[in-house]
Amino acid sequence: MIKAILIFNNHGKPRLSKFYEHYSEDTEQQIIRETFHLVSKRDENVCNFLEGGMLIGGSENKLICRHYATLYFVFCVDSSESELGILDLIQVFVETLDKCFENVCELDLIFHVDKVHNILAEMVMGGMVLETNMNEIITQVDAQNKMEKSEAGIAGAPARAVSAVKNMNLPEMPRNINIGDISIKVPNLLSFK
């Protein structure tokens, strides 16, 4: 079972935190800080597995972390999960985010936290892996987003306009446009000195 999924940046600021076990708010923040502390000490070319800190269950739980650009993706799992499998899961998660946000970067995660939560909800549910097929996840997330947009009412007008333009099916432009002879008098432009 996955106990927690944390995403934070190189300075320890949380970008996403989802706990699948109950902790108090203070404990959650402490766990984030402790995990950051453990993970940031690691060198670049060491293995991705660490023992969990005291708060999150000590030596029974493992932290599996991957570092992408400025973000650390940390999954805290117990012994029933395969460590190498979780590594692949993180990879699939990041690739899905990439597809959904078009070249995802940290700013996307900052400004669209709710969307990231929705994508994650399609992948992991209750601490267990729900779906690993990237296309399937993206299809479902898109469908739900469409539902949201259709409800949005007046506030959604600009968004609807944008998506309308995107989806517009322009008929093919005719190759030759015969406008006919138009004599246009081109005035003599004075030369500028």
Binding site: D88, M147, E151
Partner: protein, 779 residues
């Protein structure tokens, strides 16, 4: 009231804050705005406000006032609202808040909603944070959804069912019929979650396990299809078809095949196939192989397959990828108990991993190395492990040192090697050694009698080099105190220290800032002991500490001083002074307290106890000393013509009786008769064992009967405890006591005897000398 700002605006604003205080201020302002907006019961902007609240919650600010708002959002008809509402419920609510029960009705309605996404949201939330009450209420709905043909909902229902089972195990039976055709699904998502559900059920209930064993052929078939099928773009991950599902199925097979021969046999082929055909160039392939290996090791597989598995692990160890190496070391650790020989083959690779830079790998390699140590490879392995101990990080040193001690104790090829190893550990990692190892080491050294000289020399040398490592210093000072005479007696292989040098070193320990109070206690005791062995006088040193600030040291110093003063003349009877021989044995026990750790409190507690025993023994010997005085000075003891009543006394005692056999009666007075019988002790012919029998011919009992004896300087005497101290009247019984006399120089045995008893209410004391033991007794 202006429209509340959007989430994006809020995030942007917060990011402009330059300090924590500024950020806090902004957030507090926004919280206030949100709170007033909630009070106004504004439906349009509620979801926006809750979204902002969730963001602030992630940053660590309190957000509990939004909990009820989440409920209101869930109850709304709009999908957007429901989405944020459920997300908020998952993040802000949990079982401990009473509010969460209010969600139950909403979730129930949403589980039956027409839109699948709403149903999905409800299932998701229930599966994440549903409490046992909620699960009990809604299990029926979940079970219904488990049978639907909509694969999107089916997979979510499966995971929700897992959560329900975890919370309320009794409901497991309810889901059984729905699982019947879960595995015949084509959709991989559903397959995956179904396997998870089956795994959970099998792990929780042995009945379920039996029931699902019949699914093994089906699982094997699915796995086969996955491997054999060609490239399928939707499930492909780096060239392998749905590795997540493969790994899950392998795990379920492991659980089903455990301790069951038939299932294990059905799996053998497919496991061999996966193990040999999977490509190992990418992480996915290795993940599958790893899971396969774990499965092979767990079920009752045939030996060829097991060897294949361990070889795969061996190959993993050589892989460049650190993750793979880590994973291999972990699995080898699990299997080393059962397949010890197979793992031994990879020993050299494992030992190489000790030199890896990665901390996690080093730790695993160290644990595995200790598990692999056996009688054959102990020397080689210990060399590597000691080298590792030298160079590893401090966090490992304690564990490594303990491991080395354990391994050395079990498999040491010779005592000398054992002591050398221990010394090496003490000198390299002395300060990390655990507290209880000091008394264990002292015990070990005591027991290896022939190594005493060698040990004390080496420890002395180590002490000269470095006095900062406390366990080393403690063991060394104890040994020097104990065997200091061996140190200066000329048995040294190298430069021999003189007595003063040794005492100087011990004094240096006492004054050094590096010594802990426990160490000071050890060295003070050592100095005291040496004062009896060496001819120089350590009294001055000890008495200085009579006014030490440390209570323990002060007490020891004062008590030792008292001992010295009172029994100073006994110092010259040092060979007879068995009390200093008793002290080490007692001290060792003092550092082996059953329930405390080696703290100064306990050592002083036991020390005080020992000292009382000491006083008692010393007082006994003191009385013996009186007798010795009567016998005269140090050397040749003049024979004092006996003033003993050798004539028959009134009660009909007997004359000195030089009997042909080895018994003689030597004392008889006032009705008390003591008979000496005699034999030689096996195997040591120098020891004579004398048994006295005391009988009483008067009409009254003789109570508090104490028999004491003393022998001249060249002998050693040991009095065992008497059978009782009441001599019954009229020869109705006797008191017996055994005396052992060591007579290495084969001189004439003589003995001074003192008797005390109470007869008819008055105490009686008598002295006698026995000097006509039969020649056989001492030749």
């Amino acid at each position: 009231m202006p429209a509340p700002i959007r989430l994006r605006e809020l995030i942007r604003t917060i990011r402009t804050a330059r300090t924590q205080a500024e950020e806090r201020e902004m957030i507090q302002k926004e919280c206030a705005a949100i709170r007033s907006s909630f009070r106004e019961e504004d439906n349009t902007y509620r979801c926006r406000n809750v979204a902002k609240l969730l963001y602030m919650h992630m940053l660590g600010y309190p957000a509990h006032f939004g909990q009820l708002e989440c409920l209101k959002l869930i109850a709304s008809q709009k999908f957007t609202d429901k989405r944020i509402g459920y997300l908020g419920a998952m993040l802000l609510l949990d079982e401990r808040q009473d509010v969460h029960l209010l969600m139950t009705n909403c979730i129930k309605n949403d589980l039956n909603h027409s839109t699948q996404y709403v149903q999905g949201l409800a299932l998701c939330t229930l599966g994440c944070m549903g409490s046992s009450e909620m699960c009990r209420d809604l299990a029926g709905e979940v079970e219904k959804l488990l049978k639907t043909s909509n694969s999107y909902l089916r997979k979510k229902a499966a995971l929700c069912a897992v959560h329900v089972i975890r919370k309320v195990p009794e409901l497991m039976e309810m889901f059984l019929p729905a699982t019947k055709n879960l595995l015949s699904e084509k959709n991989h998502g559903v397959l995956h979650t179904s396997v998870v559900l089956l795994t959970e059920m099998c792990e929780r209930s042995p009945d379920m396990l039996l029931h699902f064993r019949k699914l093994v052929p089906q699982l094997v078939r699915i796995l086969k299809n996955l491997i054999m099928s060609g490239y399928s773009p939707e499930h492909d991950v780096s060239g392998i078809s749905d590795p997540f599902l493969q790994v899950r199925i392998l795990r379920l097979l492991r659980i089903l095949g455990r301790s069951d021969d038939d299932s294990s046999e059905a799996m053998n082929d497919i496991l061999a196939q996966v193990a040999t055909n999977t490509e190992t160039s990418k992480n996915v392939g290795n993940a599958i192989l790893y899971e396969t290996v774990l499965t092979i090791m767990d079920i009752k597989s045939e030996s060829g397959l097991r060897v294949l598995a361990i070889n795969i692990l061996g190959r993993f160890l050589l892989n460049n990828d650190k993750n793979i190496r880590y994973v291999a070391l972990t699995s080898l650790l699990k299997t080393v108990q059962t397949d010890h020989n197979a793992v031994q083959r990879h020993r050299s690779t494992i030992v190489d991993c000790l030199k890896d830079l990665d901390v996690s790998i080093k730790r695993r390699a160290m644990e595995l190395s200790f598990a692999l140590v056996n009688g054959n490879n102990i020397r080689g392995m210990m060399k590597e492990l000691l080298y590792f101990l030298d160079s590893c990080d401090p966090e490992f040193k304690a564990d490594c040192a303990s491991g080395v001690f354990l391994a050395a104790e079990k498999y040491a090829p010779s005592k000398r090697w054992h002591i050398d190893t221990i010394m090496r550990v003490l000198t390299t990692a002395g300060s990390y050694v655990r507290d209880d190892s000091v008394p264990n080491l002292i015990q070990l050294i005591t027991n290896s009698v022939e190594m005493h000289a060698y040990t004390v020399q080496r420890l002395y040398k180590a002490l000269l080099d470095d006095i900062s490592q406390q366990p080393l210093v403690q063991v060394s000072s104890w040994c020097i105190g104990e065997y200091g005479d061996l140190l200066v007696s000329g048995q040294c292989e190298e430069e021999e220290p003189i007595q003063d040098e040794v005492l100087d070193v011990l004094e240096g320990l006492l004054v050094s800032n590096l010594s802990t109070p426990v160490t000071r206690g050890y060295s003070l005791t050592a100095i005291m002991k040496l004062s009896t062995r060496f001819s120089s006088d350590a009294n001055s040193v000890v008495s200085i500490y009579g006014s030490s600030i440390d209570v323990e040291l002060q007490q020891r110093a004062v008590e030792y001083n008292a001992l010295f003063k009172k029994y100073d003349h006994m110092r010259f009877y040092s060979e007879h002074c068995c009390f200093v021989q008793i002290l080490p044995a007692l001290q060792v026990q003092s550092t082996h307290p059953p329930c405390f750790t080696g703290s100064i409190y306990t050592s002083s507690l036991f020390y005080r106890f020992n000292l009382h025993v000491l006083y008692y023994l010393v007082s006994l010997l003191f009385q013996a000393n009186d007798l010795l005085d009567l016998l005269g000075g140090n050397d040749v003891v003049p024979v004092i013509q006996t003033t003993l009543p050798t004539k028959p006394a009134s009660a009909g005692g007997e004359l000195l009786d030089l009997l042909g056999d080895l018994s003689l009666s030597t004392y008889s007075k006032n009705g008390l008769k003591i008979e000496f019988t005699f034999e030689r002790a096996n195997p040591n012919p120098n020891i004579a064992v004398i048994t006295i029998h005391a009988t009483n011919t008067t009409e009254a009992d003789m109570t508090e009967f104490v028999f004491q004896a003393a022998v001249p300087k060249t002998f050693q005497l040991q009095l065992l405890s008497p059978s009782s101290n009441i001599v019954p009247a009229l020869n109705q019984g006797s008191v017996t006591q055994v005396i052992r006399v060591l007579n290495p120089q084969k001189q004439q045995l003589r003995m001074r005897v003192k008797l005390t008893y109470t007869h008819k209410g008055s105490p009686i004391q008598d002295l006698a000398e026995v000097n006509n033991f039969p020649p056989q007794s001492w030749q």
